[in-house]
């Protein structure tokens, strides 16, 4: 059985590599400031023990479509279209190598098109710029002989036209003997290399010079999560996740226009009077969060989340989220959700034409402005006891169960005027 599993893992890895190779060759030009991330492994979430079937291979096929609109493009100095679409298919694998060790993989792409990235070169009539990002993360977890401690390691890579990122992580989690408490610690480091693509008019050697320089960024995260069963119906977790980032933290193709800067007699705000965004090369973030789940009745459960955030850029934020899953039948769940976020502006933010050229740091990126945001949406999950269907894999004789289907829609609106719609789906399969 172990040999069979190892062969399957090997075959799966080879298949993924074979599939990834042609995609990697398709990497396109034109970066965008509004890109989305396909995410890697998520080691940060606390998981109190549940009766999972450790022998099963789990495969999740995730897909999402995201679309946003707004009028504060950072590429154009805080004005201009923020229209963007992103399509992100992802495959998550969780394979038992033996009774104590599991291999996890998260492989996917992001295909995005952005109106604002056309404006890096000021080509006014071109179609929306597009790019593809590829990412792959792998993790290994092992339960020690005491069955209470889990160790994990992981590594990953992501690549797009102007950005290359590697990450490694290590984790440790210990559960109490009665299964009512868990403490987990995860450390993660990202080593990134960034191609310095500046707005066309700021390029040394002329607008057609494509010999960009490069810079780097390192991010270090420590995640501490404590989870606790409070009653038969209530459990909670608290977490702290300090982050230190060093290196290039600004985006070199984002313009900033100044009210008092007009070289060569140009009027401030006209093309040629902007500089590329400049931010400090060190950022320290201090987020802390509380998560609660409550089994109110057999019909309704409540899932709550609160996060406090603070950093040395001067941003302070609060986020509340509430979800109320309604069990329409034992196998069909509807879950409406609502989220509220509010934040103060970074010390270095000012909108279009509000910065002085004497400022040491400057940005007109509205992601760093003061705003509040509301998100509302609805999702459903259909998970029949015996699955939605069973079939044989094309290669091999293993029976695969189509276990569940999750579909979710969210509408997001910021006080800056930015709106977004996102639809996501998860098709979950298991192989005994």
């Amino acid at each position: 059985m172990v040999i069979e599993t190892k062969l399957f893992v090997k075959n799966t890895a080879l298949t993924i590599l074979a599939l990834a190779a042609p995609f990697a060759a398709l990497a396109q030009a034109t970066p965008t400031p509004n890109r989305l991330d396909g995410s890697g492994l998520s080691p940060n979430a606390a998981q109190l023990p549940s009766p999972a079937r450790y022998g099963e291979t789990e495969v999740d096929i995730l897909g999402s479509y995201y679309q946003q609109n707004g009028d504060h493009s950072a590429v154009e100095g805080g004005v201009g279209s923020q229209h963007l679409t992103d399509t992100a298919p992802t495959i998550l694998l969780n394979v038992p190598l033996d009774s104590t060790t599991r291999l996890a993989a998260n492989v996917g792409i992001d295909y995005y098109a952005s109106a604002s990235s056309d404006k890096i070169d000021q080509v006014m009539s071109s179609p929306s710029a597009a790019d593809v990002r590829y990412h792959a993360d792998f993790g290994l977890s092992h339960v020690l002989a005491n069955k209470l401690t889990t160790l994990g390691v992981g590594a990953g890579v992501s690549k797009e036209y102007d950005y290359l990122s590697f990450n490694i992580l290590a984790s440790w989690a210990h559960t109490s003997a009665d299964g009512n408490r868990q403490l987990s610690v995860t450390g993660q480091a990202f080593i990134d290399q960034i191609k310095l693509i500046t707005p066309a008019e700021l390029r040394v050697g002329g607008t057609r010079n494509k010999n960009y320089g490069s810079d780097n960024r390192q991010s270090f995260t420590l995640s501490l999560v404590y989870a606790q069963v409070l009653t038969k119906r209530l459990q909670a977790s608290i977490s702290a996740e300090p982050v230190v980032q060093r290196g290039l933290l600004s985006t070199p193709f984002q313009r900033v226009y100044f009210y008092d800067f007009g070289p060569g007699g140009l009027a401030p705000g006209t093309l040629g009077t902007a500089l590329a965004e400049v931010l400090p090369r060190l950022r320290v973030k201090y987020p802390a969060s509380l998560r609660l789940t409550y089994y109110a009745t057999d019909l309704v459960q409540l899932r709550g989340f609160y996060r406090f955030y603070n950093d040395n850029f001067g941003i302070r934020a609060h986020t509340f989220e509430l979800e109320a899953p309604l069990k329409v039948t034992p196998f069909f769940t509807l879950y409406p959700f609502y989220r509220y976020h509010t934040q103060t502006a970074a010390d270095y933010f000012a909108p279009y034409l509000a910065h002085s050229v004497g400022d040491e740091y400057f940005t007109s990126d509205f992601d760093l402005s003061a705003f509040s945001a509301n998100k509302v949406g609805l999702g459903f999950r259909y998970a029949p006891l015996y699955g939605l269907g069973r079939f044989k894999m094309p290669f091999g004789k293993r029976i695969t169960k189509f276990k569940s289907l999750d579909l979710r829609y969210g509408y997001y609106r910021q006080s800056t005027g930015l709106t977004a719609n996102v639809v996501s789906a998860n098709l979950s399969f298991v192989m005994p």
């Binding site: 999740d60 946003q68 992501s158 941003i315 979710r408 997001y412 996102v422």
Partner: protein
């Protein structure tokens, strides 16, 4: 207005309440965990929620501590 003393008080209150409540909770035996083992009781974001967590982490300067990415892989910060 986006960051009032009210929010600060709520934040501190919640964290304090959690700190006080967690050590004082009851012990629940494995056979009493039918409700806690429900799929919707997991103390984590759902897999299908990942795309939303990602876009929020890029569109909002104040993000983190929610299982989303906090660095790397993207030219945004």
């Amino acid at each position: 207005m986006t960051n009032t003393p009210f929010f600060r008080s709520v934040a501190l209150g919640l964290l304090l309440a959690a700190g006080l409540a967690l050590p004082g909770c009851v012990s629940v035996a494995a056979y009493q965990k039918a409700y806690l083992n429900d799929e919707d009781m997991k103390l984590a974001t759902k897999k299908v929620e990942a795309p939303e967590v990602n876009f929020e982490s890029y569109r909002e300067g104040g993000a983190g501590a929610n299982g989303g990415k906090v660095g790397g892989g993207c030219g945004c910060n």
